[in-house]
Amino acid sequence: MNGILSRRPTRLSALGAATALAISFVPMAQAQDVTTIKVLNWQPGGPEYWAALVEAFEAEHPDIKVELETVPFDRYPEVQGPYIATRSGPDVMEQNAGLELFDRRVAYQELPEDVLAAGGDLLTRSGGCLNYDLDEPCYGLPFGLQGNVMYYNKLVLSEAGLDPDNPPATWEEFGEACEKINAVGKTCLALGMTGVFPTYWVFPEIARSYLTEDDMRAVLAGDMPWTDPKMVSILEAMADIPTKGWSNSSAPSISMLPDGADIFASGNAGFAGTIIADAVNWAAFGEALGDENLGAMRWPAVEPGAPLAKSFSGTESSVFGVTSWTSKTEAAQEFVKFVASTENGNLLTELGGGIPLNANVDPSLFPKSSALEQIREIIKTPTIHVGVLLSGQEADALGRGWQEVALGRLTVDDWVERMQVALEESPGKN
């Protein structure tokens, strides 16, 4: 009896063990064929678009699995910095085109011709190449267009007695509009000054009134001192915004994303200067305020006669590159190629509220929105986005200086001096 009882479990155990072993080999065999790549990103276009992008990529490449590490945009440099310093981490990384990419190019592999060929249908891809030059080494491929516009709330403008069909086009008109909006108890320009937003979202829009494209290239090369009268004029105009009471008083201690954008989305402000794609764009504001109440325009020109006053500060939104330390180069390159594809362009248009760079994207996929239509007109006259040409030191000094100017603790002259020191200490510009 004992013998039977003792034998049965042994046989059962052996059978169970064999089955478990067999089952365990199935996923092991599958896992060996699948390469998992880690992609560091800030999810431009939102989670729905990114879920679709990953799904489409994995469907096209069943042997590659994508693992996303998503970091908020304003925290991105601080998460990415340690990865680069330790030469470890993701296989693919997202990077703002321009100086930010150039400064960090040691973290990226130079893309070979066959990968760059995948960007053949893009309207531009120079932002992924050194010095915006296609003949120089290229480190990433872009997928969408990004840049700045000013959104306005038609209801607030009407309440203040302004014509919502003719928003202010000059600095002078903007000042007058602000006085009227303030008079009805609303904030004129919803603003947050912390982080990199002053550099990326405000500075380029004022700079267009003073700089030419050659000046902007000089900014990139570090050959344009902040003591130059043109640069001083830009800072003076920026100082106007808080000191003349055009923005919310909390601006020096809040971030534009999400705090400043929230003020506008809640209907308490007339204007907000943000971007054409990603988080705080026409789609998000349209949803919050109603598409019919939202308008988009260029930032009012400080110098309406300036050559670039009616241009659009646009750039490749960001580029994706293969990290220099990855051992999964081929899989990572496949992802970068897919990012630039028409298929991804269609997804970005349909789900991400973005404006794709791929020329073959189906135009019927663009959502119906009057603000988006205005934006599609504005982007027809692009120029260099000078914000992405500032170094980390300059970006930090610009934001902190502006905060102190707003609080009356710093003069514009002292701000200029600090900016010059920041330029002189920028590793990539000296």
């Binding site: 040691v106 912390t194 008083s249 201690s253 705090d259």
Partner: protein
């Protein structure tokens, strides 16, 4: 016989073996070795590496080259460096509050004040919330139209409803207050542990002598748990100087301007935002020296007092 033979060296008062080592030395060395290896690998090596890096010129993330003292010179020229240490000193001035407030609360709890069980848990709760979450939470609470100001207006204290994070003094004060809120629960618990070692008959005797709360605090609690107070003081000091990073990061980013910039946050942005690892390491070394000097002073005071008490 053999037992007697083994005992001889001990009786003779010679604790060393033939090899000149104390008995059990190998075992002791073996037990200490893992901790020693960890300390060398994760404390000493990074410190020496940072010291070496502080003499190097770093161009972005490229290989560094020797630069002598230029990083230290650049550091001393940088007004933000000076401001960050000034801010650290201002925060440091709040040390008595950090040390004595938890002690007062711990003594109240120790005396079984009504509701003490509830308060003991409540006071410790903030310490269990991640500092980054605390920072994000207080960004909302301290917003101009946030709940703190709404409450102040509601109770007729509208003039006090200021923009907490906008002014240079109010921002640093707010940052320090939030850090204290987050940290002091641990102090209460630390003091309670110290007080629990005090014999009950001593407590009863003090009560029978008619000691009130303040008498109990000054003449009873403070002398009896002086080592715990010393330990907590060192912990608070280092906390103020090197553990504020997540709060600065989430609450103010060192702003407005450089009003809440602390040395540890400056190390971080210099290294990872400005990509200047050499200068970041130099600031880190300055912070290390600063914390070491203060900690050495306080710890030596503690030992001196301890020795005095024993004598």
């Amino acid at each position: 016989m053999s037992i007697q033979t083994r005992k001889v060296p001990i009786r003779s008062g010679n604790p060393r073996s033939r090899s000149g080592l104390r008995p059990g030395f190998l075992l002791i060395a073996l037990l200490v070795l893992p901790a020693l290896i960890l300390a060398v690998l994760f404390k000493l090596v990074p410190l020496l590496r940072a010291f070496w890096l502080s003499f190097m010129k770093t161009q972005g993330f490229y290989e560094p080259s020797f630069a002598g003292l230029s990083n230290y010179q650049a550091m001393l020229r940088d007004p933000t460096f000076e401001q960050s240490f000034y801010n650290a000193f201002m925060v440091f001035l709040s040390l008595p509050v950090w040390v004595f407030m938890p002690l007062i609360i711990a003594l109240l709890l120790f005396q079984r004040t009504p509701g003490w069980r509830f308060f003991r848990a409540t006071y410790f709760l903030p310490y269990m919330i991640a500092p980054v979450v605390v920072g994000i939470m207080f960004r909302q609470i301290l917003a101009p139209d946030g709940p703190i100001n709404a409450l102040l207006k509601l109770i007729g204290l509208a003039p006090l409803a200021i923009e907490w994070l906008n002014g240079p003094n109010s921002a640093l004060f707010s940052l320090t207050a939030v850090a204290l809120w987050s940290f002091f629960g641990l102090g209460v618990l630390t003091y309670l542990s110290g007080l629990s070692t005090v014999p009950q008959d001593v407590v009863e005797a003090a009560r029978l002598d008619g000691a009130g709360f303040w008498r109990m605090l000054v003449d009873f609690a403070l002398p009896l748990i002086r080592p715990v107070v010393g330990y907590w003081t060192v912990l608070c000091m280092s906390g103020m100087l090197i553990w504020m990073f997540p709060l600065v990061y989430a609450l103010t980013r060192g702003g407005p301007g450089s009003a809440t910039m602390l040395p540890e946050y400056l190390v971080f942005i210099t290294t990872f935002e400005f990509l200047n690892r050499g200068k970041g390491a130099a600031i880190g070394m300055a912070l290390f020296v600063f914390v070491s000097l203060i900690s050495t002073f306080v710890v030596r005071q503690m030992y001196r007092e301890g020795r005095g008490k024993r004598q």
